[in-house]
Symmetry: C2
Subunit: 466 residues, 2 copies
C-alpha cells in the first residue's frame, strides 16, 4: 500500500467513530490513489457501508465511484446492490455514462433492471448504450416486466444443458467453467430441448448420486413447477409456501426457459413492499423518499398528500363553524373537540392497521366488510366506555362541571364505536374500488371520525349546555 500523505492508518478498524470512518475514506479519495481506497472499502463492515457513503459529500462520493469504475467495478456493483434501488440510482446518475455503465455491467441481472428502472429515461438509455451488448439487451428485456412479477424478480444466470447430456458431460462443463458460474443459481440444473423449452429440473444432489453415464433428463424431478414471466409476487409467495424448492424456472410467452426465480428474491420483494407501505401510511406519495433526493421533488411528493388532507379538513372545520353560537356560549368546548376527534381517530387507525394486516395475510377480502364491522364493534365499545369514564372524571375534576364532563365523556364511546367500525371497513372498501388502502385509509378514516366526533360533541353540547 502506497503512502497517502497522512500519518493515520487507512483502515476502518483504526477509526474510532462513524464520523472518522467517513473522514478517513474521504481523505483517501482526495488522494486519488485507487489501491488504498479499494482496500479500505473491502475492510469496511457491510452494515457501515450505506451510512459511510451517504455521509460523504456528493462530489467525493462521485469521485469514489468514478475511481471504482476503472479499478474495481465489481466492488462498485456490490456496493450498489446492497443499497435501496432509489438510492443506488441517485449515485449512478451522478457518474459519467461510461463509468456508470461499467459498474452496472457487473451487477446481478435482477438488480440491474431495478436500478436502471429508477433512472430517468434519458440517463437509462445512455447507460444501456454504453453497456456490453448482451447485458444491455438482457436488461432491456427485463425492463419490460413489472418488478412485482417473475420476470422482474428472476435472475438469468442459471445452468442449462441439452436434454441428451450425461452427468459426466455436465461435470466436465462445471470443471471448465466453475469459476465463471460463481454467481449462478446452482441448486438445480435445467435440461432443455432444441427449441429452448424446459425438459426437466434436476437437483444437484441427484447429479452427485447418479452414475456418471446417466442422461441428466432421467434425473429430473417429476412434479417440479415452472412459472410464467407474468406470475405476480403474491402467486409466487403462495407457490413457495407450498413447495420445498428454493428456486423455480421461469418460462416466457413461447414456453422457453428464460430465467429462475429464487425464494429469497420473492421474500425480499415482500419485505420491500411492506416497507413502502409504511412510507405510504406516513403520507409519502409512491412510498419512496430519501433525504438525498432533490428538495423540490421531496416537497412535491409530500404536498400531493397534504393538499387533499387540507381540503378534507376544511369540510370538518365547516361543521364546527355551523355551531359557532354553541362555542361562544361554552368556549371550553373548543379544547375538547380536538381531544375527542384525535383520540377516536387513533382508535380508528388501529382498526385500519389490523385490516391491512389481515388483507396482507389473505384472511379477509372486500366481501367481508360486514363481518369485520361486527368484529370491530365490540372492542370499539369496550374501549370507548373505558376511555369515556376516564374522561368524564378528568373533565369533572378539572372544571367541576358535571354536565360538560357528561357531554365529553358520553361522546367518546359513541364516536369510538363508529371509528373502529369505519376503520376496519375502509381499507376493504378502498380495495374494492381499486384505491391503495396504505395511502388513502388514514385520511379517509380521520376525516370521517373527525366529522362524527365534532357532530356528536357539538349536538350534545347544544342540547345540554346552551
Amino acid at each position: 500500500m502506497t503512502g497517502t500523505g497522512t500519518p493515520e492508518n487507512p483502515t476502518p478498524q483504526a477509526a474510532t467513530s462513524d464520523a472518522s470512518v467517513v473522514e478517513r475514506l474521504s481523505r483517501l479519495v482526495d488522494a486519488a490513489q485507487p489501491d488504498p481506497v479499494v482496500a479500505f472499502l473491502h475492510a469496511l463492515p457491510p452494515d457501515q457501508t450505506p451510512y459511510t457513503l451517504s455521509h460523504m459529500d456528493d462530489e467525493r462520493r462521485t469521485a469514489l465511484f468514478t475511481l471504482l469504475a476503472t479499478h474495481d467495478p465489481d466492488l462498485g456493483a456490490d456496493l450498489l446492490e446492497h443499497f435501496d434501488d432509489a438510492y443506488a440510482a441517485d449515485l449512478v446518475s451522478e457518474l459519467e455514462v461510461a463509468d456508470a455503465a461499467s459498474i452496472v455491467d457487473e451487477m446481478d441481472s435482477d438488480e440491474q433492471a431495478d436500478v436502471i428502472g429508477e433512472l430517468d429515461e434519458h440517463d437509462a438509455e445512455a447507460i444501456l448504450d454504453a453497456m456490453s451488448p448482451e447485458e444491455a439487451s438482457d436488461t432491456r428485456r427485463r425492463l419490460r416486466y413489472d418488478e412485482n412479477t417473475a420476470g422482474g424478480l428472476m435472475i438469468t444466470e442459471y445452468l442449462q444443458y441439452p436434454v441428451g447430456w450425461t452427468v459426466e458431460q455436465v461435470a466436465e462443463d462445471l470443471r471448465e467453467h466453475g469459476e465463471a458460474y460463481g454467481e449462478y443459481e446452482v441448486r438445480y440444473v435445467y435440461a432443455t430441448d432444441e427449441r429452448g423449452g424446459l425438459a426437466g429440473t434436476v437437483p444437484m444432489r441427484r447429479l452427485v448420486m447418479a452414475p456418471r453415464g446417466t442422461p441428466v433428463a432421467e434425473l429430473a424431478v417429476e412434479s417440479a413447477s415452472a412459472v410464467s414471466v407474468d406470475a405476480h409476487t403474491d402467486a409466487l409467495e403462495d407457490l413457495f409456501d407450498r413447495i420445498d424448492l428454493s428456486a423455480v424456472p421461469v418460462l416466457d410467452d413461447e414456453q422457453k426457459l428464460c430465467g429462475v426465480v429464487q425464494r429469497a428474491a420473492v421474500q425480499e420483494a415482500r419485505g420491500e413492499a411492506a416497507e413502502e407501505d409504511l412510507a405510504k401510511v406516513g403520507g409519502i406519495v409512491g412510498g419512496e423518499e430519501l433525504r438525498s433526493m432533490p428538495v423540490v421533488s421531496r416537497a412535491v411528493r409530500r404536498l400531493m398528500f397534504l393538499v387533499p388532507i387540507m381540503l378534507l379538513m376544511m369540510v370538518s372545520a365547516a361543521v364546527i363553524s355551523l355551531f359557532r353560537d354553541t362555542v361562544q356560549r361554552v368556549p371550553l368546548i373548543a379544547a375538547f373537540l380536538p381531544l375527542v376527534a384525535g383520540l377516536c381517530g387513533s382508535g380508528g387507525n388501529q382498526a385500519v392497521a389490523v385490516s391491512m394486516r389481515e388483507i396482507s395475510l389473505g384472511l379477509i377480502k372486500p366481501v367481508d366488510v360486514g363481518r369485520v364491522a361486527v368484529l370491530e364493534a365490540l372492542p370499539g365499545l369496550i374501549n370507548g366506555a373505558a376511555l369515556g369514564i376516564l374522561i368524564f372524571f378528568g373533565v369533572f375534576l378539572w372544571e367541576h362541571d358535571a354536565t360538560l364532563a357528561l357531554v365529553i365523556g358520553s361522546a367518546v364511546p359513541t364516536t369510538l364505536l363508529l371509528a373502529a367500525v369505519i376503520g376496519g371497513a375502509v381499507p376493504l372498501l378502498l380495495r374494492r374500488v381499486g384505491l391503495d388502502p396504505a395511502m388513502a385509509s388514514g385520511p379517509v378514516v380521520t376525516t370521517l371520525v373527525d366529522l362524527a366526533a365534532y357532530f356528536t360533541v357539538l349536538v350534545l353540547a347544544t342540547l345540554l349546555l346552551t
Copy 2:
C-alpha cells in the same frame, strides 16, 4: 372417493365463490370422512387456504385439524406453516394435545419453535411432552433463542459428514437416504470433525465435478462464513448482502455446527418485521392482532396505546383552555384549531416515515439528528408556505375576514416547519433513549405539533383579533 351425502362435486374447482368453497369444505368435515377432506385440501389453491380456513366456524376448523392429525399430519403441518405464527398458534391451541403434537411434529424445525413460542406456557409444555423426543428436545433448545437471531431462524435439517469421507461415500449416503432428506438444505454439505466442529463447507456442485475418490474436505470453499447462534437478523442481512451464498452454517457456543440459516429465512424475517412495524405505527401494542383473537385481549392491546394518547391530548386541551377568552370573542377559531394541528401533524408524520425508512436502510443514526433537522427545514417551509397561501385564500373567501385569514394562513408555515423538523428528529431521539420509534413516534410528534399549532394560532388570534 366415497359419497358425502351431498349431490355436489366436492372439489374446490366446482365452487363458484369463496363462500361456497368454505361451505363445501365445511360439509365434507361434517361428513367426517377423511379421504374427501384431504383430497379437497390438496386441490385447493394455496392462496385460498388461509381465507377458507379462517372463514369456517371454530368447531369445524378444530374438527378438520383433528381429522388431519390422524390421517395426514403432514398436510396439517403444511397448512399451519403458511399461516402467520399467531394464527397458527390459535389453531393449535384449540386441538387435543395429542393431535396438536402429531401435527407440530411434522413442521419444519424453525416453524415449530415460532408457533410453540406463541402458545401460553402450559399449552406449549403439554404439546412438547407429547411430541417425539428428538423433535421436542430440538424445539426446546430453539425456544431459548430469540426469533431475531441465527438460532431462531436456522433449520436443523442439513447434511453433515465426517471430514474424512470421500465423494463416493457421500453419494452412497444420498442414494440411501435421498428421500428422507427431502426438506433438507442441500445446496451445501458440511464436513465436521469428531467433536462436531465445522471443518468445511462443500457446495454440491463441487461434489458433481470432483472424481469420486476425493475426500470431501479437499473440496471445501476457503472463505466460507459461519455465524454464531446469537447473530442478529440485521447482521445476517448484511452478511447475505455481501456474500453470494444462499445459506450459512451456524455454530453454537462451543463452536459446534448446530444449524443452517438460509437467505430466504432472513429475508422473510425482515418482511415480517416491516409488517409488524406497520401494525405498531397504527397503534397495536406488540404489532400483532388478528380478529380471531379473544375480544378482551384485542381491546386491551389497543387500550394500552389509547390511554397514553388521551393523557397527552389532555395536555394540549389545557393549552386551548388557557385562551378561552379569545375563543369566546372569536368562536370561529375553534373550527381552525384542529385544521392547522391536523394538517401540520400529517406533515410531521411524513418526516417520521422518511426517518423510519432511512433508519431501516442504515442511512442515518441517532447522532445525525442535526443533519436531519436541516434537511427537513426546507421542504417543511416550502410546503408550509404553499399550504398557508391556499388556506389564506380559502378562509378569506369563506368568511370575508382578512385578519382571520392572515392568522390561520401564517400559522401554517411556522407550524409545518416545526412539525417537519420534529418529525424527522423524534424517531432518532426515541431510538437513542431505547424506545421503539415505530410505536412511539406518532403520538409524540402529534402531541408536540398540536401544542405548537394551538399556541401559534391562539397567540396570533389574541394579538390580532381581540
